[in-house]
């Protein structure tokens, strides 16, 4: 990691802004993986064997033709390479930055198998997509207008992937977004150092430049719009709702200093000046997923002196990838396992610490042992899971659910005719950006087939 995190820090007690020297923030939050230079890209691309029915392509949820795009890079055709990528995955730029490639394409790479050093597919993908985005050109065009209209709920990766593909197929799309900005988790959720320089918004602008897509902001399903109305007014509806609800700690008392990690990350991502964003001196993050890692690492980068992640289970049960755990540790975050929150401690309404109860492995849900310990903390961030807000569409009476999320078939059709869904809100997914993009694309293709058949009938 090239970033420096070793800055002088303000030891102010409690939650305070400006813990680092003003000039340090840019460096602390700089690009986690700086782009390859042209020469580095050529050398790395040459490592690709151009495999037959390449395992990397099979491992990619969006089935990007990886050998082809890498070969295009070796032939100094970066723009062609980007088109190969984006044809399969219109969020190829973001996926190059946030995909856990070590468990997807790069894990499948025959070079990983042969020598433990996969081709750096993610960085090559970024190299190509950056080249195309720098041209400002949209490589795809819209088919002749079909006269059909599709409503997409949610302007995150699933929704915009669906919208872009529908636009390519000649349909008109209206996207309804509850927030005032598009991008979904790309804009509000992903750690800042993975997508600096406002990349999420630039990518959305790029995707929308195909035309035929209108976004209406401040439109929340169940509040400003409803599913029945959308079905009446459109030929099809796609739900890319994400997981709008968060799980709570369920402990008594709410001293100030306890916050939800998702909200804190969103605040950080939207902060115009990170030096004015308050962070605790001692931060405890509760959880074991990517959100916990992102919250902990960014707290540390903001200048928190001590940051501890506490996870209730064993290390191998953490949802955060090994790579992400290592990133947290090398940034100076301490990860403690097998402990679950028992009490929030406060004085004068302000948080002073959090008490945990140790757990032991049982094979299933960790079991409490009765033994406790307390960590001093002036800030606790909870990252213990997000959930679907099914009330937005009328609950299980309207759409069949599976494990608390919307049930869909392989074409991403819900139980309700004319309604498709994808991304984190559907069951059976992996909660990855790349899967959401694939959901949106597959739903768009399915919608197109359905509308074609309806027309023919």
């Amino acid at each position: 990691m090239s970033r420096t995190t070793d800055f002088p820090r303000s030891p102010a007690e409690g939650i305070a802004a400006g813990r680092l020297p003003p000039e340090a923030y840019a460096e602390a939050f700089a690009d986690l993986h700086p782009p390859l230079t042209r020469h580095e890209a050529l050398v790395e691309a040459d490592r690709c064997y151009f495999c037959y029915e390449a395992p990397c392509q099979k491992a990619c949820p969006t089935s990007i033709d990886i050998p082809l795009f890498i070969r295009q890079i070796t032939a100094e055709n970066d723009i062609g390479a980007a088109e190969t990528i984006l044809r399969a995955n219109i969020f190829g730029g973001m996926c190059a930055r946030v995909c856990p490639t070590e468990t997807l394409c790069e894990e499948a790479c025959v070079r990983e198998y042969a020598e433990g050093k996969a081709v750096k597919i993610g960085l090559l993908q970024r190299h190509a997509t950056d080249a195309l985005m720098a041209t400002g050109r949209q490589p795809f065009t819209r088919a002749p207008a079909t006269g059909r209209h599709v409503a997409v709920v949610g302007a995150g990766p699933a929704g915009l992937s669906c919208a872009h593909r529908l636009a390519m197929l000649g349909h008109l799309v209206t996207v309804y977004e509850a927030k005032t900005k598009p991008g979904g988790l790309n804009e509000f959720g992903i750690a800042a150092y993975k997508t600096p320089e406002n990349f999420a918004q630039r990518e959305v602008d790029f995707i929308l430049s195909i035309g035929g897509i209108e976004i209406k902001f401040g439109q929340e399903l169940g509040r400003d719009i409803d599913l029945a109305g959308l079905r009446r007014q459109n030929d099809a509806v796609f739900l890319g709702l994400g997981l709008a609800g968060v799980n709570k700690l369920g402990l008594d008392g709410a001293p100030s200093g306890v916050a939800d990690a998702v909200e804190y990350i969103a605040e950080l991502r939207q902060a115009p000046d990170l030096s004015r964003l308050p962070v605790g001196r001692r931060v405890v993050v509760v959880g074991g997923g990517m959100t916990a890692i992102d919250a902990a690492v960014q707290s540390k980068l903001l200048g928190a002196e001590e940051v501890t992640i506490v996870y209730r289970g064993a290390p191998d049960q953490m949802k955060a990838s090994e790579y992400e755990q290592e990133l947290a540790q090398t940034t100076g975050v301490l990860i403690r396992h097998r402990a679950t929150p028992k009490a929030l401690n406060g004085a004068d309404g302000r948080l002073t610490g959090i008490t945990f109860e140790r757990t032991r492995d049982t094979g299933g849900r960790p079991e409490r042992t009765g033994e406790t310990f307390t960590l001093d903390a002036d800030m606790v961030l909870t990252a213990i899971g997000q959930k679907l807000v099914a009330d937005a569409f009328g609950g299980i009476e309207v759409l069949a659910l599976d494990g608390g999320r919307i049930a869909v078939d392989t074409e991403r059709r819900t139980s309700l005719s004319g309604v498709w869904a994808g991304g984190d809100c559907v069951a059976g997914g992996s909660d990855l950006t790349v899967s959401a993009v694939e959901d949106g694309k597959q739903a768009a293709l399915s919608i197109d087939r359905a509308l074609g058949m309806a027309k023919a009938a």
Binding site: H39, L42, V43, A45, D46, Y49, F50, C51, Y52, E53, A54, P55, T74, V110, R111, Y113, A114
Partner: protein
């Protein structure tokens, strides 16, 4: 104990590695640096008559690179020496005096008149240089003026000039051949007929390195125009090896000493040329790519290999490969091999399969028992070696000879004897098999 000392036409050098006549041997400064670095000898950059030629003031060199800028092929349009004859001769004399144990050979190129050659030979002799090399190879610039490869492409001229040189000097005469010709044996035979003591080859191959698609001009260019240059470097080694082999095994030139040139980059390249009959090897592009220090690797590598093989001098293995170069018609048609894929080494990239499937004999299966696995189908495999060459893993795929039973592809029994095309029933020109 390994001894790399070489004697070639009576010219002694501490090792067989000479620098070829080229930019690295243009002047005393460079040559002395090379000799200090350990090179066995040099062929001084070609001398011509005064007034000396001039070079272009733009790019003289071009290259083809691998992805990590590894230089694979090289090209030049530099002409012969662009310094006065006197200066060169003075420097040669001084270097030879200071480095008596090294081979100092002088490359020459003058117009095709006996008096011109006679005059320059007399002056070179005064330097006490060890020998001369007649530059009949340079394919660019000088050839437009009736010299260099313009001579090397006409065997009668080669013979004529070689004869003049033998008549007018006591120095050994090496004729440097151009590869820009259909059959290298003709100029080599002409050189021998003219009395030349040896040939050296190959000189560079006429080449245009690329087209600049923005300028729509050759690259590199000189003020927007380009001309063909001479191609050399690692990419030309196979061509040079073939030509050396042809001369080494030709009845009329067999035994003619050869100084081999062409893409020699490491000790192994040198050993291969020596095994193909060369008495010394000449290097240029490798030095121009990495500097003179590469001689350390070449000497050390050759010695280590010779020690392992039990060779004491290069004469112990020189020419050993020549007898195994033959004509296609004499290859043993009873020799049947099948590709074998080592499943422990295979990384399952599938390249062997797709190239065989698309461009050869559909002889490699992709799935065995429902798993991605690449296995040769003996009933289709012709043993062509394509899969071996495209496999990224060394020694993962090998060709294994069948020694008994039936070839599942042809249904023919494996025969133990030797049989070639000359007696094959499908050959309309066949001769009766020897009893």
């Amino acid at each position: 104990m390994v001894d790399l000392r070489t004697e070639f036409l009576g010219i002694k050098s501490p090792n067989p590695f000479w620098l070829a006549s080229a930019p690295p041997t243009d002047r005393e400064t460079n040559v002395v640096r090379a000799l200090k670095a350990g090179w066995g000898g040099v062929v001084w950059k070609t001398l011509g008559e005064d007034p000396h030629i001039i070079n272009v003031n733009g790019a003289r060199y071009g290259a083809i690179h691998g992805p990590d800028r590894r230089l694979l092929g090289f090209n030049n349009i530099e002409l012969i020496t662009d310094r006065p004859l006197d200066i060169n001769l003075q420097e040669i004399k001084k270097v030879k005096r200071d480095w008596p144990d090294r081979a100092i050979v002088v490359s020459l190129m003058v117009p095709c008149e006996e008096s011109n050659w006679k005059n320059i030979l007399a002056r070179v002799e005064e330097t006490e240089a060890d020998g001369i090399e007649l530059n009949f190879g340079c394919p660019h610039g000088m050839s437009e003026r009736g010299m260099g490869s313009a001579v090397g492409q006409v065997p009668e001229y080669i013979e004529m000039v070689a004869r003049w040189c033998k008549a007018h000097t006591r120095m050994p005469v090496i004729v440097k051949l151009t590869p820009n010709i259909t059959d290298i044996r003709y100029p080599a035979r002409a050189a021998r007929k003219g009395g030349a003591d040896a040939v050296s080859l190959i000189n560079t191959i006429s080449s245009i390195m690329g087209v600049d698609l923005d300028r729509m001009a050759p690259s590199p260019h000189v003020d927007g125009k380009g001309t063909h240059g001479g191609y050399c470097g690692p990419a030309v080694k196979p061509i040079a090896l073939c030509m050396v082999a042809e001369i080494a095994r030709d009845r009329e030139t067999s035994g003619l000493p050869i100084s081999a040139i062409g893409g020699i980059t490491t000790w192994r390249d040198a050993a291969e040329f020596i095994a193909m009959g060369a008495g010394t090897v000449q290097v240029c592009t490798a030095a121009m790519t990495y500097g003179f220090k590469i001689i350390d690797e070449m000497i050390s590598g050759l010695k280590t290999w010779m020690l392992a093989k039990g060779y004491e001098t290069i004469e112990d293995f020189r020419g050993r490969a020549v007898g195994n170069v033959t004509d296609w018609q004499y290859l043993n048609l009873n020799y049947v091999v099948k590709a074998r894929i080592d499943q422990d080494l295979c990384i399952k990239c599938g390249r062997c399969h797709i190239v065989c499937e698309d461009t050869s004999h559909q002889a490699i299966a992709t799935v065995v028992n429902g798993k991605r696995q690449f296995v040769v189908k003996d009933e289709e495999c012709v043993g062509c070696n394509l899969c071996v060459e495209v496999c990224p893993v060394e020694d993962c795929i090998t060709l294994v000879p069948l020694t008994e039973g039936v070839d599942p592809r042809t249904g023919e029994p494996i025969r133990s004897g030797y049989a070639n095309w000359t007696t094959h029933p499908n050959n309309p020109m066949r001769v009766a098999a020897a009893e």
